[in-house]
């Protein structure tokens, strides 16, 4: 039985290699604190040399995506590195990132006029060593442009995160993972008033050489926490006096 399992695992590894997925070299594969979700990725490792697309249709989804990305950044930036955040109309509030364990003063914001410039800055940033991640708010991204970004991301191994606020202009790109983060009702401790920890439905719509899926995730003070489905319960209207 065990021998069979070993063969099976070996075959799975080989299959990934044939599909073009290269395992992380040199430094040990680090987890990004996503818990079970990481198992959905090829070889169970969060792909770093890759483009991650986040689809947001509404402002509240964008806010949830910001929170989710900030949660990822808290792990990626834990070693003191910086990050570049590029956008044309930025609404991200730097002071809110402290709640996600991110020091906003280590993020370089680049505010540009149009999407062409976003892509240019993004490519330059991806080719720059010493960054933890590059986040960009881009609406339209063609196949060629995404291919360029993918090549740039592979160069230094910096994850490229693209927030797309306009799902209508979605075209097939070469992104490794496509996410959709939407807010879910929070749940406070029973008997406690007020709004609880931020809770999201994390949908992995597409992942290359991996298994797409859907999870419920909560940001609990300093880490992601997966919520089993049945734990979600509706609470009565409660309020807290300030």
């Amino acid at each position: 039985m065990e021998a069979k399992l070993e063969i099976l695992n070996k075959l799975r590894q080989d299959l990934l290699l044939w599909q073009g997925f290269k395992p992380a070299e040199g430094e040990a594969a680090q987890c990004v604190g996503l818990g079970e979700i990481e198992a959905a990725f090829p070889a169970g490792v969060f792909p770093r040399k890759a483009i991650h697309e986040f689809i947001c249709a509404t402002p509240d989804q964008t806010a949830a995506t910001d929170g989710f990305i900030a949660g990822l950044l808290s792990v990626l930036m834990a070693d003191g590195t910086g990050c570049v955040w590029i956008s044309t109309a930025r609404r991200l509030f730097p002071a809110s990132l402290a709640a996600f364990n991110v020091e906003a003063d280590r993020i370089i914001f680049v505010d540009v006029r149009n999407e062409r410039e976003v892509l240019w800055v993004m490519e330059e940033a991806l080719r720059c060593e010493g960054l933890a991640a590059v986040v960009a708010e881009v609406d339209s991204l063609s196949l060629v442009e995404s291919r360029r970004l993918q090549l740039a991301a592979e160069e230094q191994g910096i994850p490229a995160m693209i927030i797309r606020k306009d799902p209508k202009r979605l075209v097939a790109g070469v992104s490794t993972a496509r996410w959709k983060i939407s807010p879910l009702p929070s749940s406070a401790e029973p008997g406690m008033p007020g709004v609880g920890f931020p809770r999201w439905r994390v949908e992995l719509l597409k992942v290359r050489s991996g298994n797409p899926g859907c999870w419920t995730l909560e940001w609990e003070a300093d880490r992601f926490l997966q919520v089993p489905e049945q734990k979600v319960f509706v609470q009565m209207v409660q309020r807290k006096f300030g």
């Binding site: 402002p59 509240d60 964008t62 806010a63 949830a64 910001d66 929170g67 989710f68 900030a70 070693d79 003191g80 590195t81 910086g82 570049v84 609404r91 991200l92 509030f93 730097p94 002071a95 809110s96 990132l97 402290a98 709640a99 996600f100 020091e103 906003a104 003063d105 280590r106 993020i107 370089i108 914001f109 680049v110 505010d111 540009v112 410039e117 240019w120 800055v121 330059e124 940033a125 720059c128 060593e129 010493g130 960054l131 933890a132 807010p183 879910l184 009702p185 929070s186 406070a188 008033p193 007020g194 709004v195 931020p198 999201w200 940001w219 609470q235 209207v237 309020r239 807290k240 300030g242």
Partner: protein
């Protein structure tokens, strides 16, 4: 090295300038005149007027009597100086040190030591300058000699050749009149009275005799012409310590050519910067075009740098702004601002920590070079509770935050740049909203936190305080709402939405 100087004499500086502006005056003799003691005195004359024996210093009325068709134009004080300055700047392409001839205000002085061979010899060099200025419309006389004084003398009074051979200036001066020494009118009349019509008749006299007769100023001028006394030119442009020039054999028109020129200049400049232990903070590339126009591009860096590759990338972003037109004949690269370089300690392992990383600094330079420095921002916490002011812009990439980010109050990840008005139903006086309408959509509030009252900073601005609530609607969307002002029947208050929580 043997010093060489060129003196350029614009024979009819103002008249030529006027002819360029008004070609219809070509056939008409004209003079410039300025009022002096209630009379109009001729200050400068055109070539045609000079042929009628009209000289500067005459009264305009006399001149008109000599030549009835004479046109008298108004002269403005300082016009000649302004013109010479412009022409001098044009002539910087021939030599780095160009000075205005302060004595007669109708010429330029160039120090051309080591420049002439670039044009293939002194004769070609002079020819080039004459023909270039002629094509612009100026009639000039030039002379090249070992001293500025000798060059000045030969350009005005020389009859043989403008090219005074090295060490030949003493001989050449012998035959020239004493006026060639740039002397005062009183000294000149004294010399004439004594019968000195050529320099050779007094050049061999003992200095003490000459001093007694004509004074110290005369001796100085003589010594300057002979080269025994140093004459310092006041350059139009003070030489900058870090400046490199690159003259091109043929006019450069292509992007590749410009790139090569920039690389060459950077290589030399960076080597100099490196030996002096400094780095460039802001640089200026000046391209002198063949049609006389000057094109400039400037770059700036966030930290001192003398890396050719990095600086070239910054220039590369702006090469498109250089319009070569007919071609560029001279490039000049100048380090306007340099800073002492902090030499980082060599490290064995590439530690990634922090933003103060060379490659990130270079990235910022490239981005701000292309998109402007305002595009790049960084925020540090500020001691303000008012949300719009709680994150302040950092002045530099290395500025440290003075305090920690405030974590004890919830803040939305997305903050609207301007709060938007919403319709709210809420219990009085300070209950959170039960229900609100934002952009036509109705939201039933299920959970809420608050209020968190944030007072206005009265020393900065005036207005109502805000009572913030964090609310969650039935579908789990979280918002940051506030009521502006106190709740009251006789008071106006309004509800706003200010952000979205994660």
């Amino acid at each position: 090295m043997q010093r060489r100087y060129i003196s350029i004499w614009f024979r009819h500086l103002l008249a030529d300038w006027q002819l360029i502006r008004r070609p219809e005056l070509k056939e008409v003799p004209f003079v410039f005149a300025a009022p002096d003691h209630g009379r109009m005195m001729v200050t400068s004359v055109s070539q045609l007027a000079a042929e009628h024996d009209i000289t500067p210093g005459m009264s305009a009325a006399d001149a008109k009597a000599i030549c009835p068709g004479l046109e008298v134009l108004d002269d403005k004080v300082g016009r000649a100086g302004k013109l010479l300055k412009g022409l001098g700047e044009y002539c910087i392409r021939y030599a780095p040190i160009v000075a205005i001839d302060e004595f007669s205000m109708d010429g330029l002085m160039l120090e051309v030591s080591g420049c002439a061979h670039l044009w293939g010899g002194e004769r070609e060099y002079l020819k080039e300058i004459v023909s270039r200025l002629k094509s612009k419309g100026y009639t000039v006389r030039l002379a090249i000699a070992d001293t500025p004084g000798a060059a000045w003398a030969v350009s005005r009074f020389g009859k043989v050749t403008p090219l005074v051979a090295s060490d030949g200036h003493v001989e050449t001066l012998q035959l020239l009149p004493p006026e060639a020494l740039r002397l005062e009118e009183t000294t000149l009349s004294k010399l004439r009275k004594l019968g000195f019509y050529q320099i050779r008749s007094f050049i061999g006299m003992p200095r003490s005799v000459l001093r007694r007769r004509f004074g110290e100023a005369f001796l100085l001028r003589l010594a300057q012409a002979l080269g025994t006394e140093e004459e310092v030119l006041q350059p139009l442009r003070q030489p900058v310590p870090f400046r490199e020039r690159l003259a091109s054999l043929e006019p450069i028109k292509t992007k590749t050519g410009i790139e090569i020129a920039i690389t060459r200049l950077l290589e030399v400049l960076c080597k100099r910067l490196q030996t002096e232990g400094v780095g460039l903070r802001s640089g200026l590339l000046t391209a002198y075009r063949i049609d006389g126009k000057i094109v400039q591009i400037a770059i700036g860096t966030s930290g001192a740098s003398h890396s050719v590759g990095h600086l070239f990338k910054l220039f590369e972003l702006k090469i498109d702004q250089i319009k070569p037109a007919l071609g560029i004949e001279l490039f000049e690269l100048e380090a306007l601002k340099v800073d002492s370089l902090e030499v980082p300690q060599e490290i064995l392992w590439n530690s990634k920590a922090g933003l103060n990383n060379k490659s990130i600094l270079q990235l910022i330079d490239r981005v701000s070079g292309k998109l402007g420095a305002a595009a790049v921002r960084r925020y540090i916490p500020e001691a303000h509770y008012w949300p719009e002011r709680s994150a302040g812009k950092a002045r530099s990439l290395t500025e440290l935050r003075l305090m920690n980010w405030n974590m004890d109050k919830p803040r939305p990840t997305e903050l609207l740049p301007r709060p938007e008005v919403i319709q709210v139903m809420a219990l009085t006086p300070d209950h959170p909203p039960k229900f609100f309408i934002y952009k036509g959509e109705q939201h039933q509030v299920v959970k809420a936190d608050g209020p968190e009252r944030i007072e206005r900073e009265w020393w900065l601005d005036a207005g109502e305080h805000r009572d913030y609530y964090r609310v969650e609607d039935a579908s789990g969307r979280r918002y940051w709402l506030y009521r502006s002002g106190h709740y009251g029947a006789n008071q106006s208050f309004q509800w706003f939405i200010h952000g979205f929580f994660a």
